[in-house]
């Protein structure tokens, strides 16, 4: 009943009227304000630290690496230091933390600490040749390498008539969440409470227990209302938490650490830049005979999440196509930049950009329409993905594409544009598409490893409380999880509340990432609800409330909690050594079509129309789902065209909203969202994940449209006007 309808956002009113209290709004008496003193060089050794004697440093709390028992940020590996002790690995790396009651004193003091450093040779580019003095990880600076094998590509390539190659590059991207990173810490009831803007409270808790070598119950981690995340608050809040906790422990006072926009942009994670090389053997009909794909991700200076970003990247890199012979090799490599981290799509947007652009390159070479090439190769039920995962979900992917092309008037527009381009002095129009997929949930055995747990508690007053660690960062989690519980119990949504993610109250239901929350956690909530119904006599609806009240009457002072734990569905079989099997329980499928207009006077590109069609299982809340798709498309338009990270010494140099160009509403086309639905067996009422999917398709669709408009092939994003100008000067001499 609540599923598939637009219930109002549960958190909407508080955010509209300003009563939601973000971390920087929290007032605590006697709180200290903190700042991070950072490296100004890319790589080197710290020789000496100087404190300007004109400042009375005795009034400051100063923390260095010696104040953190295990000076490490716990993530996949332990290589990242919380504070640099000797060696500096990237510009903006934290070295010292300072705190003081007065924010103005902090501003003055942060410029009064300087370092003597001995510079060391730095790695700027993951593909540059290395000398021994560049090596900082293992013996080759490779954080992780992955190979995927299917069939026998070598034999096919050896006898292939036609091999088509291309090298595709994508740039970094800044999340630009509205609320910058921020965290505070204070002591209460013998625990250190750490509260702030975050996606994954239990990641933060694990980072704290490791860094301070204390048990979990020494800390309470609380998520404050979070103004956007997009992956940027998956791993980085752990660093913030360790920093603010170290200051709170040393000073014995509450401490708050808030980044301003410039510091946030310069020092925090970005999307991994990528270089992907494709070699494809095709027959004359355009059938993909063999694919050889090489993926390189720029991981930045520490491992952080790069291995899993690479994993998702390589799994998606062959696209939603059937091909019997595939070899994929991927590497995430070190560079001396601030670590690149999680960002909506998690490696898939990069590799899907490459394959979707490459499909158009192949189509051009064969003289086929790009849609026809895709039609001939699209995975049909019974086919298998690159990891040999059989697809049998009943979704008609070809029909999805064809319906989308109809909605976008693909054929008519193609003809119209061709005529227009012959006559207009400087405007060129084109239409392009991308067909793609995105796996929902953690990769492979990831969900087994997470072993998520969700609780639903029925309180004596009949109120139902959902207890999970999943966070709302604006995407609508609280609303859809409320809907899922209400639907399962056949109650109106007002009977359901969601607990604040607070590790002292909620179980570890896993991180809020990887398009997993609705599908995995939603499914667990359904199961936890079922337990409540079972234990109160099997009734649902309004009568359930009375049954709950009666249960509490009969069992005074006892909590009535349904608890569900993740169990891997039997059909999911994954070999993490060989990278074979069910990489994901299920995939969302999509076709996106972009119309563009290029101005040859200025080389700027305007996206003039956009159709985004996807099959995502069940739509839980149409408005929120549409919002996810439109938001993802907008974010991807920025990544494709304007969001250019200019680096200096490996760190972002254009870290201001004026100079890092995200699109405004005036830059956007109408974005027409189309959903096709099916009953996926893995999520609540058939839902799959959708959060990341819309980030994957727009960039290749837009670039394909530009290439159509200009009759050229482009291999790189962001396709800024400056880059397009250089390309046209080089490749289209005389025609411009």
């Amino acid at each position: 009943m609540a599923i598939g309808t637009d219930i109002p956002r549960v958190d909407g009113i508080d955010k509209l009227n300003g009563s939601a209290r973000y971390v920087d709004d929290l007032k605590i008496d006697g709180i200290l304000h903190a700042a991070t003193i950072r490296s100004t060089i890319q790589r080197g050794r710290i020789k000496a630290i100087h404190f300007d004697p004109s400042i009375d440093w005795s009034k400051f709390t100063i923390v260095d690496h010696r104040d953190i028992p295990n000076n490490q940020i716990r993530l996949i590996e332990l290589d990242q230091v919380a504070l640099a002790s000797d060696e500096i690995r990237h510009k903006e790396e934290p070295i010292l933390l300072i705190a003081h009651p007065c924010p103005r004193e902090i501003q003055r003091a942060r410029h009064a600490i300087t370092f003597d450093v001995e510079p060391l040779p730095a790695v700027d580019d993951p593909c540059q040749p290395l000398t021994p003095d560049h090596i900082q990880h293992g013996d080759d600076n490779v954080f992780k390498s992955i190979d995927i094998h299917k069939g026998n590509p070598d034999t096919v390539f050896a006898s292939a008539d036609r091999i088509i190659e291309g090298e595709y590059k994508t740039g970094g991207q800044e999340h630009v969440y509205l609320e910058t990173q921020g965290m505070l810490a204070y002591h209460e009831d013998g625990k250190l409470v750490v509260a702030g803007t975050m996606q994954c409270p239990y990641y933060v808790l694990d980072a704290l227990t490791h860094a301070f070598d204390k048990p979990r119950d020494a800390f309470r981690v609380v998520q404050t209302p979070t103004g956007g995340g997009f992956g940027g608050k998956e791993d980085f809040p752990s660093n913030m938490a360790v920093h603010v906790a170290a200051l709170a422990c040393k000073s014995g006072k509450p401490v708050k650490l808030i980044y301003d926009r410039q510091e946030d942009m310069a020092a925090t994670t970005k999307r991994h830049p990528s270089v992907v090389r494709h070699r494809t053997a095709v027959d004359d009909d355009g059938k993909l005979l063999a694919m050889d794909i090489n993926v390189v991700l720029d991981g930045g200076a520490y491992v952080t999440l790069s291995p899993v970003v690479l994993s998702r990247g390589v799994i998606h890199t062959a696209g939603p196509y059937h091909c019997d012979n595939i070899h994929i090799h991927g590497e995430a490599r070190l560079t001396n930049s601030p670590p690149n981290g999680a960002f909506r799509g998690f490696g898939a947007p990069q590799t899907l950009f490459a394959v979707e652009r490459h499909m158009d390159v192949i189509a051009t070479e064969l003289g086929l329409d790009p849609a026809e090439l895709r039609r001939r190769n699209m995975i049909r039920d019974g086919d298998a993905t690159a990891t040999s995962q059989p697809i049998n979900d009943g979704v008609d992917r070809v029909a999805l594409m064809d319906n989308t092309l109809d909605a976008a008037q693909y054929d008519t527009r193609s003809t119209e544009h061709a005529t227009f381009n012959k006559t207009h002095p400087y405007l060129r129009r084109g239409i392009g598409l991308a067909t793609f997929f995105h796996g929902a949930g953690f990769t492979g055995a990831g969900e087994v490893y997470l072993a998520s747990e969700a609780w639903v508690e029925a309180h004596p007053d009949g109120q139902i409380e959902v207890l999970v660690a999943n966070t709302d960062m604006g995407q609508g989690t609280t609303t859809i999880l409320t809907q899922i519980a209400a639907d399962r119990l056949d109650l109106e949504p007002r009977y359901v509340t969601l607990a604040t993610p607070d590790t002292s109250r909620v179980p570890n239901s896993g991180p809020t990432v990887a398009s997993r929350t609705a599908m995995i956690v939603g499914h667990l909530i359904e199961q936890a609800c079922d337990q409540i119904v079972e234990r109160t006599g099997g009734i649902k609806g309004r009568a359930l409330i009375e049954a709950i009240e009666a249960w509490h009457h009969a069992n005074p002072n006892t909590r009535l909690i349904g608890k569900a734990k993740y169990h891997k569905p039997d059909v999911i079989v994954w070999d993490d050594e060989k990278y074979i099997g069910h990489a994901y329980a299920c995939y969302g499928w999509a076709t996106y079509v972009a119309d563009v207009e290029v101005d040859l006077r200025t080389f700027s590109v305007r996206v003039t129309d956009f159709v985004a069609a996807q099959e995502i299982g069940r739509v839980l809340n149409p408005t929120l789902a549409r919002g996810q798709i439109q938001g993802g498309v907008v974010q991807a338009i920025g990544w494709a065209l304007t969001e250019d990270i200019v680096t200096r010494d490996g760190a972002m140099a254009n870290g201001q909203m004026t100079n890092y160009i995200i699109p405004t509403s005036g830059d956007l086309p109408p974005i027409r969202v189309i959903f096709e639905e099916s009953e996926s067996p893995f999520g609540p009422r058939g839902a799959k994940g959708i959060g990341e999917l819309p980030m994957d398709g727009p960039a290749p669709a837009i670039l394909n449209a530009i290439c159509k408009a200009l009759g050229t092939q482009l291999y790189e994003i962001p396709m800024t006007p400056e880059r397009l100008m250089l390309h046209m000067e080089e490749h289209a001499h005389g025609t411009v």
Partner: protein, 269 residues
């Protein structure tokens, strides 16, 4: 930091004469941009917003007068001014977005001295005169002689810009084009205003030199009736008029190329 609040022009000029380090603040939309980068101890601001006789805009048969506090919005909202000087409104609508257009002033745009200022090219193309006044004297400077270097001008520290005058003449041709990295809230990467009247062409470009400047070689070529077959022909002449640079927002090559292509496409339209 200290804030002074004069209520008359004379009071403001007196304050400035007594302490030429005072910073006038009109809309504040430039001053506030770098606000948090400065240590403001020792700053004295002079808030002009209460000086009513600076907040005037008038037009007669001969000229348009903008006061020091005239905002972009004042111009956008006036049909008469927009009809007489269409490029002012065209440019004003492309400054920041509505919030900035309602606060930002034309005088502030000049006084700030940015080479990327969008109000300056159209005013310069319309032959604007800047009225400077101190406690002791008043001077008029043509806007195209106002700037002397990057963020440098003939204005002395004790002078205020008290108004801007643009003569009314009939124009056979007027055009402004701004190239920013997006459609609003964009700092100009390259921009151009072109106006033609009885005495010939005026071509003014922004973001292609240390300050907004006229392209005088191109003006003479156009006045001589020279025609331009390709953008490269325009660029050949323009290179004597402009000196673009590479910066965080764009490249010298882009600025030079695109300015030439815009002008070429426009004059051949």
């Amino acid at each position: 930091m200290k804030v002074l609040r004069p209520t008359s022009r004379n009071e403001a000029l007196d304050m400035l004469a007594d302490d030429p380090s005072i910073r006038p603040i009109a809309g504040g939309t430039d001053l506030m941009v770098s606000w948090h980068h400065h240590d403001k101890t020792g700053w004295t601001l002079m808030d002009l917003s209460r000086v009513d006789d600076l907040n005037t805009m008038s037009m007669d048969d001969h000229a348009l007068q903008l006061g020091a506090l005239t905002s972009y919005w004042d111009v956008i909202a006036s049909k008469d001014v927009t009809n007489a000087f269409p490029l002012l409104t065209v440019a004003a609508r492309q400054v920041g977005a509505i919030q900035i257009q309602t606060r930002g002033t034309w005088a502030g745009n000049i006084a700030n001295g940015s080479p990327a200022a969008d109000g300056v090219p159209v005013m310069m193309a319309y032959n604007a005169i800047v009225h400077l006044q101190s406690r002791t004297e008043s001077t008029d400077v043509p806007l195209d002689q106002y700037f002397t270097g990057y963020k440098q001008s003939v204005r002395k520290p004790d002078q205020l810009i008290v108004g801007i005058t643009m003569p009314r003449t009939s124009h056979d041709h007027e055009w402004f084009h701004k190239v920013g990295a997006r459609s609003a809230q964009a700092i100009t990467k390259v921009g151009v205003a072109m106006v033609k009247n009885g005495s010939g062409w005026r071509v003014v470009a922004n973001s292609v030199a240390p300050f907004v400047c006229r392209c005088k070689r191109l003006e003479s070529a156009l006045n001589d009736g020279q025609s331009f077959a390709t953008p490269a022909d325009v660029a050949d002449i323009l290179k004597h008029d402009i000196a673009p640079i590479d910066d965080i927002r764009s490249t010298a090559r882009y600025r030079q190329t695109v300015l030439a292509r815009l002008i070429h496409a426009h004059i051949n339209e």
